[in-house]
């Protein structure tokens, strides 16, 4: 088990270098000199331009810039944002809890809804429920997030007035961030109603972000269940006179879960990608929104640092999925 862990960890190192290389050079491939972009129509005179170039280190050869960047990364220094002049890591850590909170609730929503839907659809294969679920989940899978999110806001927030339009907490509550997780911070605060308010703010963004994973999980569970239900041992279990619920939940679902767990792991990257749109629409102060703003401002250190940290996070999650996987199915440990 430990050997497997280190083997997988070893795979991560070249990936890590690959990511730093890609991020560093790709950003510089995007046309657009950050200094000229910042100056805009007003322009900047040649002397000042040279001064700013030196200040940002753009006057050095690209390979040296990369080397300095890498050196910084190994010392835990991702540089300072061109815009806010604050360390990138510090900004990331301030915003990261908001993204995690949204992501966790979204995946919980996807699981709680997607898993049972898939199971029932499989059990009632060919029925109306199956057709409806699969059609709806296909629609959910193909739905552009920005459109879906806007529809949710227009219906639930504006038309029905049930949920707030955007943000993490009503502006009338005044919460000092302690953990950065709004659900926890509001619980810790003595302001009445703040926790409920935070929950209400989470509902729509979590649904918007969780819809695609929910659809994927529902479809995956269904097909995986269908395969398992055809197996001999299920027929044996049925023949033995076990109750249908026991057959489905104990014998079928457990075996059907292996591919589903993989899919859930893969959904993490989908969540991060989705978070960029969801956070922008719901004014959710997380890392997605942060990176989008950094791209439009050509804030190199923020883009580089942000993407690197996200990539590392996804690698860690994948590692954890692989480990979980090997717990569920020990055979995997021994194959490379």
């Amino acid at each position: 088990m430990l050997g497997f862990f280190f083997r997988r960890l070893g795979d991560i190192i070249p990936t890590f270098f690959g990511v730093t290389l890609l991020v560093f050079f790709l950003i510089r491939l995007i046309p657009g000199d950050p200094i000229l972009m910042m100056a805009g129509e007003r322009g900047v005179d040649a002397a000042r331009y040279a001064q700013l170039k030196a200040q940002y280190g753009f006057d050095q050869p690209l390979i040296m810039q990369y080397f300095h960047y890498l050196l910084g990364v190994f010392q835990g220094d991702l540089g300072k944002s061109f815009v806010t002049k604050k360390p990138v890591l510090e900004e990331f850590l301030t915003l990261f809890p908001a993204t995690v909170e949204l992501g966790v609730v979204a995946i919980l929503f996807a699981l709680v809804v997607g898993l049972p839907l898939g199971v029932i659809a499989a059990v009632r294969r060919g029925g109306i429920f199956d057709y409806t679920t699969m059609t709806v989940s296909l629609a959910g899978y193909s739905m552009p997030i920005f459109w879906w999110a806007t529809m949710l806001i227009m219906f639930f927030s504006v038309f029905l007035g049930w949920t707030p339009v955007s943000g993490r907490l009503s502006v009338l509550y005044f919460i000092e961030p302690t953990t950065g997780f709004m659900l926890i911070d509001t619980l810790l605060s003595d302001q009445k109603g703040a926790f409920l308010d935070a929950v209400e703010h989470l509902i729509l963004p979590a649904i918007a972000l969780g819809t695609i994973p929910m659809a994927v999980i529902a479809r995956m569970t269904r097909s995986s269940m269908l395969e398992v239900l055809r197996e001999e041992y299920i027929r044996v279990a049925r023949a033995k006179g076990l109750s249908p619920a026991k057959v489905v939940i104990v014998h079928a679902l457990r075996n059907a879960l292996i591919p589903v767990v993989t899919v859930i792991g893969l959904q993490v990257s989908v969540l991060v990608a989705g978070a960029i749109l969801t956070e922008t629409i719901f004014s959710w102060p997380g890392i997605g929104k942060w990176i989008v703003e950094a791209v439009s401002r050509r804030d190199y250190p923020t883009i580089q640092g942000g993407i690197l940290l996200i990539a590392m996070m996804i690698m860690m999650v994948n590692l954890m999925v692989d480990l979980t996987y090997s717990v569920i199915n020990p055979r995997i440990r021994h194959t490379r």
């Binding site: 046309p31 657009g32 200094i35 000229l36 972009m37 910042m38 100056a39 805009g40 129509e41 007003r42 322009g43 900047v44 005179d45 000042r48 700013l52 200040q55 806010t84 002049k85 900004e91 915003l95 929503f109 709680v112 049972p116 839907l117 199971v119 029932i120 059990v123 009632r124 429920f129 806001i153 639930f156 927030s157 504006v158 007035g161 049930w162 949920t163 707030p164 339009v165 955007s166 943000g167 009503s170 502006v171 009338l172 509550y173 005044f174 961030p177 109603g193 308010d197 209400e200 509902i203 109750s243 249908p244 619920a245 922008t280 629409i281 004014s283 102060p285 997380g286 929104k289 942060w290």
Partner: protein, 535 residues
């Protein structure tokens, strides 16, 4: 069994929604402004974006002179009055007495505002040896862009309530520069205290000013909180709390406005304007923006160096169609290089008519009966003064084809575009400008002056008559005289047509009906002093 399972699952699948009850409204009056982005920081000296100015200079700070709310007129601010020496080289400001800096949870001032604060605020930007010069990145782009380092020869503290600025040359627009955001007055006492504590950058994160609202808290990318400064020298603001709820998506801002989650919203989607106008709970305000969108001619390139050719091309452009299609109602036709909200706008100037027939004849008379070939450079970015340059270029291309002129559309990435047009590689090009200080000089000299050829005068148009007028206007501080000169300059401009003036954008600001006395700032800022909410 199956049915129980289905029921249970469906039950779980139902998302619990609770009716959204707003927390009990405090008795204090709170105004929520759904701002479009996060500020870059909290010191207006260091940045150039409107978002940062809204969060800082417009509401927290004052300047020695200020713009009267909703206008480009200069009125006294922290200086009660000022004298200009006869040669126009010395500006002496007499400071207001009894002005208090804000008392916040992080700083308690022990003295009133005085000349030391003015000295600190300008020295920080101007004097490279000032200990604060390099703090927080130390780049003062707007101060530099307005050529202040070259302009200022000396800053002298005459006494505790008098400060003198000595210039290197007479420059009438200087007074307008002093009303700009970067010229905000910061507290020297607070700066000293933070320097002593070893945390100088704190002054740029937790600001202290003399303005109507004081900083309370900033949660990155989410919310900025202010409360009214009870000691404000013009009197406490009618509202008690001001909140910026950062909401980047324009559609969502509109939804929040409808739901009453915010009272004032910037930059609406053009597509939403109709619905906003029809909504009785929303008051859709509008005003011409302080900008100009134009098609420039490179007057050094033949045949665009000929006035008749430029005139003919201008007369072939159907501006009405462009306003309709590109601005979708959010623009007005422009005839002068400055917008009508700027003083000295010459309303007597008659615009070139749209007349393709006459244009064709004019072109033939100029020696081009079969037209010629040129290019139209289209900006790759969206700007209020030109929401869709590519489409505009296509429309102009079609218009010109009718008089036999074949134009190729060219575009580059924005930085590249700016550099190349500066060098004069283009034939004709789409461009625009948004005013900085409301002074006509800021358009006419910056964009059309002979000195600016090779930088922001992308038409490379250097006309002696025009240049004499605007140079003369720089040297006198008599506004009536300056007005006369600028009006004349606009006549010369129209005769020569170095640009086809296209449009000034219209700025829309939807506010909720209960908001009283909100005024659109011609500079595009959002100012909340004087704004009230009906109970």
């Amino acid at each position: 069994m199956k049915s129980t399972l289905v029921k249970a699952t469906l039950g779980a699948a139902l998302v619990a929604t609770t009716a959204w009850a707003a927390p009990s409204a405090a008795s204090a009056k709170t105004l929520v402004y759904c701002s479009e982005a996060s500020p870059e920081g909290f010191n207006p000296q260091l940045y150039t974006t409107g978002t940062t100015f809204d969060a800082t200079s417009k509401n927290i700070f004052n300047r020695l002179v200020q713009f009267k709310r909703g206008t480009t007129t200069i009125v006294p601010g922290l200086a009660t009055n000022w004298d200009v020496s006869a040669d126009g080289m010395e500006y002496t400001f007499h400071l207001r007495k009894g002005v208090k800096f804000q008392t916040t949870s992080f700083f308690t001032p022990t003295r009133d505002f005085n000349a030391d604060d003015v000295m600190y605020s300008f020295d920080r930007m101007w004097d490279k040896d000032n200990p604060y010069h390099g703090v927080s990145g130390g780049s003062y782009e707007y101060f530099n862009a307005m050529s202040m380092p070259e302009l200022i020869k000396d800053i002298v503290k005459v006494d505790d309530y008098t400060v003198k600025f000595v210039l290197n040359r007479p420059e009438a627009p200087f007074i307008a520069n002093m009303a700009m955001d970067f010229a905000s007055i910061l507290s020297a006492e607070y700066a000293d205290k933070m320097m002593e504590a070893g945390t100088p950058e704190q002054v740029d994160l937790q600001p202290v000013g003399t303005g109507p609202f004081q900083f309370v808290q900033y949660q990155k990318d989410a919310v900025i909180r202010y409360k009214a400064n009870p000691d404000y020298w013009e009197g406490k603001a009618p509202i008690d709390n001001l909140i910026f709820a950062i909401t980047p998506d324009a559609t969502v801002r509109f939804q929040k406005l409808k739901a009453g989650e915010c009272q004032v919203v910037p930059y609406p989607n053009p597509a939403d304007l109709k619905a906003m106008d029809a909504d009785p709970s929303i008051n859709l305000m509008s005003q011409e923006g302080l900008n100009i969108g134009y098609l420039g001619y490179n007057t050094e390139k033949a045949p665009l160096d000929k006035t008749e050719v430029r005139k003919a091309l201008t007369m072939a452009i159907n501006k009405d169609a462009i306003i309709e299609a590109i601005y979708q109602g959010a623009g007005t036709k422009a005839k002068n290089p400055i917008p009508p909200t700027i003083w000295s706008y010459n309303n007597d100037v008659v615009d070139d008519p749209y007349d393709p027939e006459a244009a064709k004849k004019m072109l033939a008379d100029a020696g081009f009966p079969n037209g010629f070939e040129t290019d139209i450079w289209a900006m790759p970015v969206q700007r209020p003064y030109n929401p869709n340059a590519r489409r505009m270029a296509e429309m102009i291309q079609a218009d010109w084809a009718k008089i036999g002129v074949k134009a190729k559309i060219v575009s580059y990435e924005w930085g590249e575009y700016l550099e190349r047009t500066k060098k004069g590689e283009q034939g004709t090009f789409l461009m625009g400008w948004t005013g900085d200080n409301g002074d006509p000089d800021n358009f006419l000299a910056v964009l059309l002056g002979c000195d600016a050829v090779g930088s922001s005068n992308r038409s490379r148009w250097c006309n002696k008559d025009f240049d004499d007028l605007i140079q003369q206007a720089k040297t006198t501080s008599d506004v009536l005289e300056r007005t006369r000169l600028y009006e004349q300059a606009q006549v010369v401009f129209k005769e020569q047509d170095p640009w086809a003036t296209i449009a000034h954008s219209i700025v829309f600001e939807p506010v909720r009906a209960e908001v009283e006395n909100y005024k659109i700032d011609p500079f595009g800022g959002h100012i909340f002093y004087g704004v009230d909410i009906k109970e």
